[in-house]
C-alpha cells in the first residue's frame, strides 16, 4: 500500500514525463530520431502503454478501456547495452485502418523503420489476434509476439503452450503480465537477441 503510493508519486513527478498541454491524457515525448527503434503495436486495451512505461521508466496514462492512447508516445529505454527509442502507438485492429487513430499507427509503420516490433496481444484472445501477427510478419517487420495479461487467461482456464507457439510460428513469443512486471526480463532478453542489430 505504502509502496504503491510512493511509486505513484515518483512516477507521476518523474522528470522524464511531460504533460501534454492539450489534454489530461499524458503523452510522453522524447526525441528518439537516431536510436534503434522498438514499436509497440496491438489492438486497444492490451497493455501497450504499460509495457511502454516499464521499458522507458516514464509514465503515460493507462486505463482499462480501449482507446486511451490516441497520440503517439516516444521515449528512451536502455535494454542490455543499447539505448532504444520506444514508440507507443494507438490501438490498431488490422493493417487496413478504419478510424483516425488506427491510421496514425499505420502511417507510423509505413514511415518509420522499426528495428523491433512488439506485437502486444491479450492472451485471452490469441485466436482473434494472430491474424494481425501474420500481417505484421507479411509486411516484413521484425516481430516479437507478446502474450500479455497471461494471468487473466489462466484464470479463465486457458493453458497456452508458448514454447510450442514459438516453434510453430517461427518468431519469438514471450508471455507477460506487464502490470505485475512478470515476464519483462524475458522480453528484454528477446529484444536483445532478436532485434535487428543497430545500424
Amino acid at each position: 500500500m505504502k509502496n504503491a503510493i510512493i511509486s505513484a508519486f515518483s512516477k507521476s513527478f518523474s522528470k522524464n514525463r511531460k504533460t501534454n498541454a492539450a489534454g489530461c491524457h499524458t503523452q510522453a515525448q522524447q526525441s528518439v530520431d537516431h536510436l534503434p527503434k522498438i514499436m509497440l503495436i496491438g489492438t486497444p486495451n492490451v497493455g501497450k502503454s504499460v509495457i511502454f512505461n516499464k521499458l522507458t521508466g516514464m509514465y503515460v496514462t493507462v486505463s482499462n478501456y480501449p482507446g486511451t492512447t490516441v497520440e503517439v508516445s516516444k521515449g528512451k529505454g536502455r535494454i542490455g547495452n543499447t539505448i532504444y527509442g520506444i514508440i507507443d502507438t494507438p490501438g490498431m485492429y488490422s493493417m487496413m485502418p478504419i478510424t483516425d487513430e488506427e491510421r496514425v499507427t499505420r502511417n507510423l509503420i509505413l514511415e518509420e523503420k522499426p528495428d523491433v516490433v512488439l506485437h502486444v496481444i491479450d492472451a485471452k484472445n490469441l485466436c482473434r489476434m494472430l491474424p494481425m501477427t501474420l500481417q505484421l510478419y507479411e509486411a516484413g517487420l521484425p516481430v516479437i509476439l507478446v502474450l500479455n495479461v497471461m494471468d487473466e487467461a489462466k484464470r479463465l482456464g486457458m493453458k497456452i503452450d508458448t514454447d510450442e507457439l514459438e516453434r510453430m510460428l517461427g518468431i519469438p513469443v514471450v508471455a507477460t503480465v506487464a502490470a505485475l512486471n512478470k515476464g519483462m526480463d524475458k522480453l528484454r532478453e528477446r529484444i536483445i537477441k532478436h532485434g535487428r542489430p543497430a545500424a
Partner: protein, 484 residues
C-alpha cells in the same frame, strides 16, 4: 512446418495475383511488397494513393490486376483474405491452447451481466452516479474539502493577512487591488485555483480513475448504446462523453476514436454544449445540493437538451449509423498505484494549465476595472441577465465563464456564499453557465480537431442558445411558481 508464418500461403489464385502485383511494384517501400500487394488487392485508398504517386503509369496495370482478381471471386477480396488468415489462426490456436472451463470466474461473469442488462444496469448506473459523483465529488470534494480550504484557510487566514499586508505597506490603491482585496491575484486568482477548483477536479479524477480502471465504461457503452443510436451516436461515444465530465478539452480530443465524421461532429457539439466539466459539475452540485428540487430541474434540463440537440444534430448532419462494436475488457480491481499515478498526473496537468490562466484572469479583471472596460462589458450583459431575473453581480461569472468554464462556476460559488442568489436564480444561472460556450482550451481543441469553420459555427449556435434556454427556464419556473 505447418503453421509457420514463413510458410503461410493464401489460395493459389490470390498468390498469383500477389506475385503479379509484386512484379509491378518497382519503387522502394518501407514494408514488404507482399503486404503492399495485399493492401492493394483490398483496395486500401491510402495505399492506392501512395503507390499511384510512386509507380506512375504502372498504376493502370495494378488496377487491372485488382479487377481481374476481384472478378475471379464471389466474395469481396478483403473478406477472403481475412477468412484465410483467421482459419490459419484457428489452426495454430487449436494446437497450442488447452481450454479448461472449470477455471472461469463466476462472480465476474454475474457482475458483468448485471452491469449490461437495463433492468439491473440502470440502477447500478444511478448508484455509481450517486455515490461516485454526488457523494464523493459533490458533497465531500466540493462541499467539505472546499469549505475547509476556501472558507477556513483562505477566508480565515490567507486573505485577511494579504489584505492587511497590502493596505499597510502599499500606498497605491490600484496595486493593492492587483494583489489583494476583491479581485486580487492572491485573494481571487490563487484562491479560485487552489481552494475551489483543484480539490474538486482532484476528487473527480480520483473516482474517475477507479471507474475507468475497473472496466465499467465499456459496459456502460453497451448499456446505453440504444439510447445513443437515437441521437446519431454509437455506444462507443460513451467514452468521450464521460471523459467530458472530467475535462471537455481532453474529451474533444478523444472523440477521434469515433468511426465516422458525423459521430465526431455530434460528439464535439454535445460536449461543448451540454456536458459540464468536473470543476463546473462539482461547483454546481455543491451550489444546488441544498435544494434538491433545483438540482433535479438542472439534471432534467441538461438531459433534455442533450437528447433534443443530439437528435436534431443527427437529423441535420447527414450520414449512416455505425454499427457498434467494442472490445469489452474484463472487470478488474483497479490497481492502486495506477489510479494514484493517473490522478496525480491529471491533477498536475490541470493545475499547470489553470493556475496561470486564473492568475491572468484576476489581472484582466484588474485592467478592466482600471480602464472601465469591464464595467462596460458588464453593462452589455446585464440586460440579458435582467430577463433571467439574475442579479447584476452574476455578469462577472458569465463574462469569465467564457474565459474558463470553471472560473465562471467558481464565481457563482462566491455569490452563493454571499447569499446573493435565490434557489431559482441559482438553477437558472447554473443551467445557462453549463450550456454556455466551452472554455478557451476546449474551443482551441475544437478548432484543432474539427476545423475553424465547424468550431465557430458551433459557438455561434451555443451562445444565443444558452441565454434563450436560461430566459425560458426562468419564465417557466416563474409561471409555475416553482422555487420562488
Amino acid at each position: 512446418m505447418e503453421g509457420q508464418l514463413l510458410n503461410f500461403r493464401y489460395n493459389d489464385k490470390l498468390e498469383q495475383a500477389i506475385r503479379k502485383m509484386e512484379d509491378l511494384l518497382k519503387s522502394a517501400y518501407n514494408i514488404s511488397k507482399r503486404e503492399i500487394a495485399l493492401l492493394l488487392l483490398q483496395e486500401d485508398e491510402e495505399i492506392l494513393d501512395r503507390v499511384g504517386r510512386q509507380e506512375g503509369e504502372r498504376l493502370e496495370k495494378i488496377y487491372q490486376v485488382i479487377q481481374e482478381t476481384k472478378q475471379s471471386f464471389e466474395q469481396p477480396l478483403n473478406y477472403i483474405i481475412a477468412m484465410e488468415r483467421q482459419e490459419w489462426a484457428n489452426r495454430v490456436t487449436d494446437k497450442v491452447v488447452v481450454q479448461n472451463t472449470a477455471g472461469s470466474s463466476r462472480f465476474g461473469e454475474i457482475l458483468n451481466k448485471l452491469t449490461i442488462q437495463p433492468l439491473t444496469g440502470i440502477p447500478i448506473l444511478l448508484l455509481v452516479l450517486y455515490f461516485g459523483l454526488y457523494k464523493f465529488v459533490g458533497v465531500l470534494g466540493a462541499g467539505e474539502v472546499v469549505d475547509f480550504l476556501e472558507g477556513e484557510l483562505f477566508e480565515g487566514y490567507i486573505n485577511p493577512w494579504v489584505n492587511n499586508l497590502v493596505t499597510a505597506y502599499i500606498p497605491w490603491k490600484p496595486i493593492q487591488e492587483l494583489i489583494g482585496l476583491d479581485y486580487g491575484i492572491i485573494t481571487m486568482g490563487l484562491r479560485y485555483a487552489v481552494a475551489i477548483i483543484l480539490p474538486i477536479v482532484g476528487f473527480f479524477f480520483l473516482i474517475f480513475s477507479v471507474i475507468e480502471d475497473s472496466g465499467y465504461l465499456p459496459r456502460l457503452a453497451l448499456l446505453i448504446d440504444r439510447l445513443f443510436k437515437k441521437i446519431g451516436l454509437s455506444g462507443r461515444a460513451v467514452i468521450p462523453m464521460t471523459l467530458g465530465f472530467g475535462c471537455g478539452t481532453m474529451a474533444t480530443m478523444v472523440s477521434r476514436t469515433l468511426e465516422t465524421k458525423r459521430e465526431r461532429i455530434i460528439a464535439t457539439f454535445l460536449l461543448a454544449l451540454t456536458i459540464p466539466c468536473s470543476a463546473q459539475l462539482g461547483v454546481i452540485m455543491s451550489l444546488l445540493s441544498g435544494y434538491p428540487a433545483a438540482m433535479l430541474i438542472w439534471i432534467i434540463l441538461m438531459l433534455l437538451v442533450f437528447l433534443l440537440i443530439g437528435y436534431l444534430t443527427a437529423k441535420v448532419v447527414p450520414g449512416d449509423q455505425t454499427n457498434f462494436y467494442m472490445e469489452v475488457p474484463p472487470l478488474r480491481i483497479p490497481k492502486l498505484s495506477n489510479v494514484l499515478a493517473k490522478t496525480f498526473s491529471r491533477m498536475q496537468w490541470y493545475f499547470v494549465e489553470i493556475l496561470p490562466l486564473f492568475l491572468l484572469g484576476s489581472v484582466i479583471i484588474w485592467v478592466g476595472n482600471m480602464t472601465g472596460l469591464f464595467q462596460k462589458l458588464l453593462l452589455l450583459v446585464q440586460p440579458i441577465l435582467v430577463w433571467m431575473d439574475l442579479p447584476p453581480e452574476t455578469a462577472e461569472s458569465f463574462v469569465f465563464g467564457f474565459f474558463r468554464r470553471d472560473y465562471g462556476a467558481a464565481g457563482l460559488y462566491d455569490l452563493q456564499s454571499a447569499g446573493l442568489l435565490s434557489p431559482r436564480q441559482l438553477v437558472v444561472a447554473a443551467a445557462t453557465l453549463t450550456l454556455f460556450v466551452p472554455c478557451v482550451a476546449q474551443f482551441t481543441m475544437m478548432i484543432k480537431e474539427r476545423g475553424w469553420k465547424m468550431a465557430l459555427g458551433m459557438v455561434a449556435i451555443i451562445f444565443p442558445f444558452a441565454f434563450i434556454v436560461g430566459i425560458l427556464l426562468n419564465a417557466l419556473l416563474n409561471m409555475l411558481g416553482v422555487l420562488a
